[in-house]
């Protein structure tokens, strides 16, 4: 036992000497790798003295209260204290070795180091004192017990600094601070004191303060910052690239001049970018954040660094029952979010807005932060009610009878930051009054008497508030009118037809012709009322309005359907997808639209349409028309040939006429192919329309069979 004790005593002496050596020759020592391993075991070793010392303290102070064999407590306290001292010595040496590796500096480190050393030497003293520490009554003397207690306090404090060193200073109490994250009030913050300086404070000032001033550089105040350090000025206004402070921040992490040096807390990318942007922008110490445009780099970086300052509401939530009772279909009162005390109110339905609508909110006027009153018929009385909403942030008054007399009231609302006054009677004077609200960030004045010149002037005067004027028709925007609308849509009629023309844009003058000539704004008739058409007529119409480019021409050719046929039989079957209304399609007086799948077209793919027409009484005919669709890109062509056979019945039918329609190079929409025929006493007609098979060279889908689409047959 004695041998072990003396062995440890020798080790202890050796360790204490080594400790002193390390403390004195700190800067001159190079640590071999083997000892570095010992150094890195510091976080492991430190637990031994903690436990042992606490046990020693407990036993020494409370031995009287414990039932123990005689002499046991004394032997035990000595053994514990001895073991504490030895382990503390190991821990201190390991700690000093670890510190030699670099990367540990600053106040936490210094406190930790010297408290650790103090702990070692104080415990050594107590160990030496132990032999004489027993009092006359059998217990330890007060001095010894006090010494152990002090040791315990040092232990806790040193341990705390050590933990702060590895885990960060706020580690311990961070959970308590949760939710109270530092925020930034965008409206009042200034760039240097609220954005740049906090970064310097956190990352630079531990070495570059007025007390430490490494390299002669002090960053703690603006004057010193401009003066610079031993290497000269660090800041060149407007030139981030030439500023030493930026250069050092950007050096490689292993470079000897790199700031902050390796091992120290580094700047975040956004922080670095923010300092650079601030220097580049001229390093103005007083510039307010709100004066920067919304897309400014500094502003955006500020938002990246600080979560947007959520409005912190300093009022209690309103009674949920009252809030519920205020809700009607025309007044919606809702909390901004779950568990938020703030309320947002919207009004709907101007016919249901009454004098009490707004006033009813009085019980919750502290909680309301946003009101939408757009389009509501507000009255003078509402003006005074608005004043009572002291926590109002957002107010929408678009399209209300609000005028300049309201502006004094509005400028009294202390926290207002967004105000919409579009389509109101407000003027420049009123706007000026509103702009005096310091918290105001955006104001919307589109469609008011305020013009661009006034806004530009006020915007310069109040750079912190965005004044939104919106779209103004300055007369420079000249757009083409859209097409006039000709009704009815269908091109076919039995005897006569009323044609109605209109245009979607109010105030458009419609000029039209019915003789096939192009309409113009001078010679053509002005459309005033519906007109009657009784024969094949091409209606061409254009719209005109001052300040607009005239519309393009709308054309519709109306065709009388001629002799009605009593029935029609399709001898070939149309494609399954385009069956229209069967054979009735050919005499339903409805024309197919631009969409070939609208159910008004009969479609045939690579096959003829053969239709047999029957008449109740014998007729004489001069023309047979087939109305077809043309859309070459989707393979819809007119027929290559149309043949008309006719006679008294099917057996006696002979060829009455045929036509090969011209194939125009570009063709859209539809046309009526008129086949001149001559026949008398006709009771039966067979019409064959043959598609192009194949489509000729030079046209879309050449070589493939063509589609034909037919919507009506006309017999005259």
């Amino acid at each position: 036992m004695k041998i072990i004790q003396s062995l440890f005593l020798n080790i202890l002496i050796g360790l204490v000497v080594f400790t002193l050596f390390l403390l004195i020759f700190e800067y001159a020592v190079v640590i071999p790798p083997v000892l570095q391993v010992l150094g890195r075991s510091h976080p492991l070793l430190l637990h031994f003295p903690i436990v042992l010392l606490v046990l020693a303290w407990g036993l020494a102070c409370f031995q009287n209260r414990l039932v123990l064999p005689a002499g046991f407590a004394v032997r035990m306290v000595y053994a514990l204290l001895f073991a504490s001292v030895v382990s503390a010595a190991f821990t201190v040496v390991a700690g000093l070795l670890l510190a030699q590796e670099g990367g540990y500096e600053g106040a936490y480190f210094l406190w930790h180091k010297w408290l650790g050393v103090a702990l070692l030497f104080l415990s050594l003293l107590l160990l030496a004192y132990h032999r004489r520490a027993m009092g006359p009554t059998g217990g330890y003397r007060l001095l010894f017990r006090a010494g152990l207690s002090i040791l315990l306090v040092i232990l806790v404090v040193a341990g705390h600094f050590g933990a702060s060193l590895t885990h960060g200073g706020d580690f311990l109490i961070e959970p308590l601070r949760n939710g109270k994250q530092k925020t930034l009030d965008m409206a009042t913050a200034a760039v240097f004191p609220d954005l740049v300086y906090p970064i310097l404070e956190a990352k630079c000032l531990s070495c570059h303060s007025s007390t430490k001033a490494k390299g002669g550089l002090v960053l703690a105040d603006t004057g010193a910052l401009m003066r610079g350090g031993e290497s000269g000025p660090v800041l060149v206004r407007g030139a981030a690239g030439e500023s030493l402070i930026i250069e050092r921040l950007l050096l490689d992490l292993d470079h000897e001049h790199r700031m902050p040096p390796k091992g120290r807390p580094q700047l975040k990318a956004e922080e670095l970018a923010l300092i650079s942007a601030w220097v580049a922008s001229g390093a103005d110490f007083n510039i307010p954040l709100a004066s920067l445009p919304s897309d400014d780099t500094i502003r955006r970086l500020a938002l990246a660094l600080y979560p947007i300052a959520e409005d912190e509401y300093d009022f209690p939530a309103a009674d949920a029952e009252i809030v519920r009772s205020l809700n009607t279909p025309y007044r919606v009162v809702r909390p901004v979010a779950e568990s938020s005390p703030a309320l947002s109110v919207s009004f709907f339905g101007k016919a249901f807005y009454t004098a009490e609508s707004l006033e009813a909110l009085k019980p919750v006027n502290r909680q309301v932060v946003s009101i939408t009153l757009s389009g509501m018929p507000l009255t003078e009385a509402d003006r005074d009610v608005l004043r009572t909403f002291t926590n109002l942030r957002e107010l929408k008054l678009n399209g209300t009878p609000v005028d300049d007399t309201w502006c004094d009231i509005l400028s009294d609302i202390p926290k207002l930051h967004t105000l919409s006054l579009s389509s109101t009677s407000i003027t420049e004077a009123g706007l000026m009054a509103v702009l005096s609200v310091p918290s105001l960030r955006s104001v919307y004045v589109w469609n008011t008497a305020i013009d661009a010149i006034a806004v530009e002037k006020l915007q310069r005067q109040y750079p912190h508030t965005r004044i939104e004027l919106g779209y103004i028709d300055d007369g420079q925007t000249v757009l083409p009118l859209n097409d006039p609308i000709i009704t009815p849509v269908s091109k076919f009629f039995r005897d006569s037809l009323w044609v109605v023309l209109r245009h979607p844009v109010p105030g458009v003058e419609l000029r039209y012709t019915t003789d096939g000539s192009e309409p113009d704004s001078i010679h053509s008739s002005v459309y005033r009322e519906p007109f009657l058409v009784s024969e094949s007529t091409s209606v061409r119409v254009k719209g005109y309005k001052p300040g607009w480019i005239s519309s393009s021409e709308a054309v519709r050719t109306f065709h009388p359907s001629g002799h009605p046929f009593s029935s029609v039989v399709l001898e070939t079957v149309p494609s399954t997808n385009y069956k229209g209304r069967g054979s009735y399609t050919l005499h339903d007086l409805e024309s197919g639209g631009s969409n070939h799948a609208d159910g008004k077209w009969l479609g045939f793919y690579g096959e003829s349409m053969v239709a047999a027409l029957f008449f109740d009484k014998a007729i004489g005919i001069g023309m047979v028309g087939v109305s077809v669709k043309q859309d070459y890109p989707i393979h819809i062509y007119p027929p290559q040939q149309v043949e008309v056979w006719g006679g008294a019945n099917a057996e006696q039918a002979e060829l009455l006429g045929q036509l090969q329609p011209e194939l125009f190079t570009s063709a859209l929409q539809s046309r009526v192919i008129e086949v001149p025929v001559s026949g008398r006493d006709i009771r039966y007609l067979r019409i064959e329309a043959k598609p192009y098979v194949p489509i000729p060279v030079g046209y879309p889908a050449a070589g493939n069979p063509a589609w034909i689409f037919v919507d009506e047959i006309i017999v005259r």
Binding site: L303, P329, A337, G349, S420, Y471, D473, N482, W548
Partner: protein
């Protein structure tokens, strides 16, 4: 027991929602699972909740940036290479074969899978940079180019589907197969209606002149959610909402009397049975009654001033056009409609792309830009999220015959461009990057699930907590994926 007694007991149980046996069996399972649950999910009893069904709250989880969404869906798949993602390399390599290393085994549609070669084709249209942000926009979108500083263009969206129906269903519902609730239905379920006089989820459909694909009610379905969350389609004709007008010969007074009597009878039934569905039904009747006044008010475009007509273009007065739908979308949104879903068909340019795309662009360009401007000038853009884009992109190689002025492009899922504006999304930003071939994403990919998660986040909803229990498990719009794209948030 006689029949009446049996029924009485049923009603009693329904009122209590459970009987003794159910109570005891639930209790025993309940305590065990609560203990296990609290170990596995530490937040379980913290009061924050881990996403039970929404129930009555219908409030955002946290303060929202956006209150409403207008989604301008460009159905068919707009070519990113002719809109927002210029690739000069494709013009240089015109007609050369797409290297297999770039294609990387991408699954192709039946339309080009059998093509012997994949000749690269550059944009027929020129691009230029616009605005302070200097974003590139193609010459077919002059109006959008003007408002580019209000837009956040995402060039790196990608999807899993390669054909229209699965792709558009995926965008709308977060799953390719259908039967899940549409995004608007999720929002209606999560946030409720802002205006009790209009549906929370409205749908507007228009058709362009290009090759189109169908859109159908499956896309705005409520899926397994309550049917009140289904999208309500507004039509272009005289009857914007079907079955809303009174039958001829009925006036407002008799209609009111009818509803009052009906509510009285339903009230009796509710007192007897306590079925909450009865109350829901009464509320639906009341809403329909109110919609009879609110809908004509909103859909009346005749009172829009002249400069609004110039802003959107004169087509905004022609019901059923894209421009008219944009104007209507603004009015619905202004009146508190949570989610306005537009569809514009005709972007499926398998051939004749240069001709067709110019026509398509002409139909949507001015009104899309106008909507952004119009919301902005009323102070509504900050709280309204506008989204513009299709279900996938188009290939960098030509489908069919290739000429510099006439070519087609097939479907491409690996990258495409959409833009967002307002609603707390960074303006004047181009996000994500594709390779010089415009085929693969090389930076900041955004998957459809990420896109959904971001939209919900802007509306104050945690996409992991907005859930609905169905068929034994909880469902989310983002299924089991989705990361919020923080970089594009203001």
């Amino acid at each position: 027991m006689n029949k009446d007694k049996v029924i009485e007991k049923e009603v009693e149980q329904a009122r209590l929602y459970q009987n003794r046996r159910q109570f005891l069996s639930k209790l025993s399972i309940g305590i065990g699972s609560a203990a296990l649950g609290s170990l596995l999910i530490p937040d379980l009893f913290s009061g924050k909740g881990t996403g039970g069904d929404r129930g009555v709250s219908m409030l955002p989880h946290f303060a929202p940036k956006a209150k409403r969404v207008i989604y301008l869906f460009q159905s068919g798949g707009v070519s990113q290479l002719e809109s927002f993602d210029p690739k000069p390399k494709l013009r240089e390599m015109m007609g050369e074969d797409l290297p297999e290393s770039v294609r990387g085994g991408q699954r192709l549609t039946g339309m080009t899978a059998s093509q012997a070669t994949f000749p690269l084709v550059g944009s027929y249209y020129d691009f230029a940079q616009y605005g302070k942000s200097g974003a590139w926009v193609s010459s077919v979108f002059p109006y959008m180019a003007n408002v580019v500083d209000d837009l956040c263009i995402i060039r790196s969206l990608h999807t899993d589907a390669i054909n229209h129906d699965p792709a558009i269903t995926f965008f709308q519902t977060g799953a390719q197969q259908g039967n899940r609730p549409s995004m608007g239905a999720w929002l209606s379920y999560g946030l409720g209606s802002e205006n009790q006089n209009l549906p929370a989820f409205c749908v507007l459909v228009s058709k362009g002149r290009g090759n189109g694909q169908g859109v159908y009610a499956k896309l705005w379905t409520n899926g397994f959610l309550d049917s009140v969350h289904q999208g309500v389609q507004f039509m272009g004709g005289p009857d914007p909402v079907l079955y809303l007008s009174d039958p001829s010969g009925t006036d407002r007074i008799s209609r009111r009397a009818l509803f009052d009597k009906l509510a009285e009878l339903n009230g009796l039934q509710f007192d007897a049975f306590g079925d909450p569905e009865i109350t829901a039904k009464v509320q639906q009747y009341e809403m329909a009654y109110r919609m009879q006044t609110s809908v004509p008010e909103v859909t009346d475009l005749a009172k829009e001033p002249d400069h609004i007509i110039k802003l959107y273009g004169p087509d905004c007065l022609v019901p059923g056009t894209y421009a008219a739908n944009c104007l209507l979308a603004r009015k619905l949104s202004e009146n508190g409609v949570r989610f306005v879903q537009l569809y514009h068909q005709g972007w499926d340019q398998h051939d004749s792309l240069p001709g067709q795309m110019a026509l398509q662009a002409k139909d949507v360009d001015q009104a899309s830009a106008a909507l952004v401007t119009d919301l902005k000038q009323r102070g509504l853009l900050d709280e309204t999220l506008v989204i513009w884009g299709g279900e996938f992109g188009r290939t960098n190689y030509c489908q069919g015959n290739l000429a510099y002025n006439n070519y087609g492009r097939d479907h491409h899922p690996r990258c495409f461009s959409v833009w967002m504006a307002g609603g707390g999304i960074k303006p004047g930003v181009v996000y994500g990057e594709t390779d010089e071939f415009g085929y693969n994403i090389i930076k900041d990919p955004v998957h459809v699930h990420d896109f959904h998660a971001t939209i919900l986040h802007q509306l104050g909803l945690d996409h992991e907590k907005l859930t609905y229990r169905h068929l034994g498990r909880r469902y989310r719009l983002t299924d089991v994926a989705g990361t919020i794209v923080k970089d594009i948030l203001v």
